[in-house]
Symmetry: C2
Subunit: 205 residues, 2 copies
């Protein structure tokens, strides 16, 4: 059944999840489709329709149980399990993610970082060991990570991605501006393009 869910619905799920986490943090236990829709700039019927794709979670007149809906979305998006991840490139951006991003909340455990800077190799950043890129196969063999996070310079991104896929990585979270989709049709790649939201902002000003 999951296969037939549209890409638009899937892309809205992370926003629902974020708002439900905020509601839970604020101690709110139940919410109506209308109130949730208002918070998110959607309509109530859109919200109900989205959740109907997955069998629906609300009870007419009672609204949604925030904790249950949050767990259900975590299940749908497969973040309710633990997946190992490695991060390639520990410059400012890599460090920012390692220090501040709540990987655990998204079912991800950072098992290793890689860098080419000899001063960093053998150290730890936010509790995660930094290895030389030459140790990549060895560490991957041992830790069996599924996700690779690319925060390395653009010019090395393509070669790194190919090496990682050959070594068994299952998905790439790409922070470089290189388009990797065409290189590896069987491995999902999700890109973080900072510029897209800046352009939309610029349009709206």
């Amino acid at each position: 059944m999951e296969k037939r869910i549209s890409s638009a619905v899937i892309h809205r799920m992370p926003r629902y999840f974020r708002h439900l986490c905020d509601l839970q943090d604020a101690g709110i236990a139940r919410i109506s489709s209308g109130t949730l829709a208002d918070r998110m700039g959607l309509t109530a019927s859109q919200v109900r329709q989205d959740f109907n794709c997955f069998g629906g979670f609300g009870q007419q007149g009672y609204g949604y149980n925030v904790a249950e809906l949050r767990s259900a979305i975590a299940g749908i998006m497969h973040i309710d399990r633990e997946r190992g991840a490695i991060i390639v490139g520990t410059g400012n951006l890599g460090k920012a993610l390692m220090s501040n991003f709540n990987f655990q909340k998204y079912g991800v455990r950072l098992v290793a970082a890689f860098d080419s800077n000899p001063l960093l190799i053998g150290t730890e950043i936010a509790g995660v060991p930094v290895y030389s890129c030459r140790q990549m196969e060895e560490v991957m063999e041992r830790e069996q990570p599924q996700i690779a996070i690319l925060t390395l310079p653009k010019m090395h991104a393509r070669a790194a991605a190919q090496k990682l896929v050959a070594a068994g990585i299952k998905g790439i979270w790409n922070f470089t501006s290189i388009d990797l989709h065409l290189d590896m049709p069987n491995v999902p790649v999700e890109n973080v393009h900072f510029s897209e939201s800046l352009m939309v902002l610029s349009y709206k000003i």
Copy 2:
């Protein structure tokens, strides 16, 4: 006329822009709607329809002039002018943006950075002076920036945004996970939510 363009089309424009920049960098002068669509995972008719919203740019049988289409999109998205911006928070993420992001390409000139760390105040990062947060009004008065980039800790984001809007900022590029939309309905806020693409990746693996 611009007002009637759907949000979905506006949100695709940055992707067109990115692909057209890549094509131009690769020395490609013309491209058909079909080839452009293939690169982007769209259909040729979708591409033609999107550009028809703005009056259309191609010539039947000739395809699009890459440089012209790129310029036209820059104009539509208002990145063909120069806007001043300030960055609030020069931790790892702020530094990563200041050092690596090509602001100029998006019509943005970074005029000042702000931080509360006394060791950083008075220094420069990537050629941009770092000021104390207490100097914010004074610097804004002088530099008249339109965009504020929030890369400060989450707990300070809301107060900083309110202060910036009161001091005349026109748009916020928000890297914190705080939702600022409801606080300031008249100032556009675009969020960079790292977690959204990670959740979509997790779903696809």
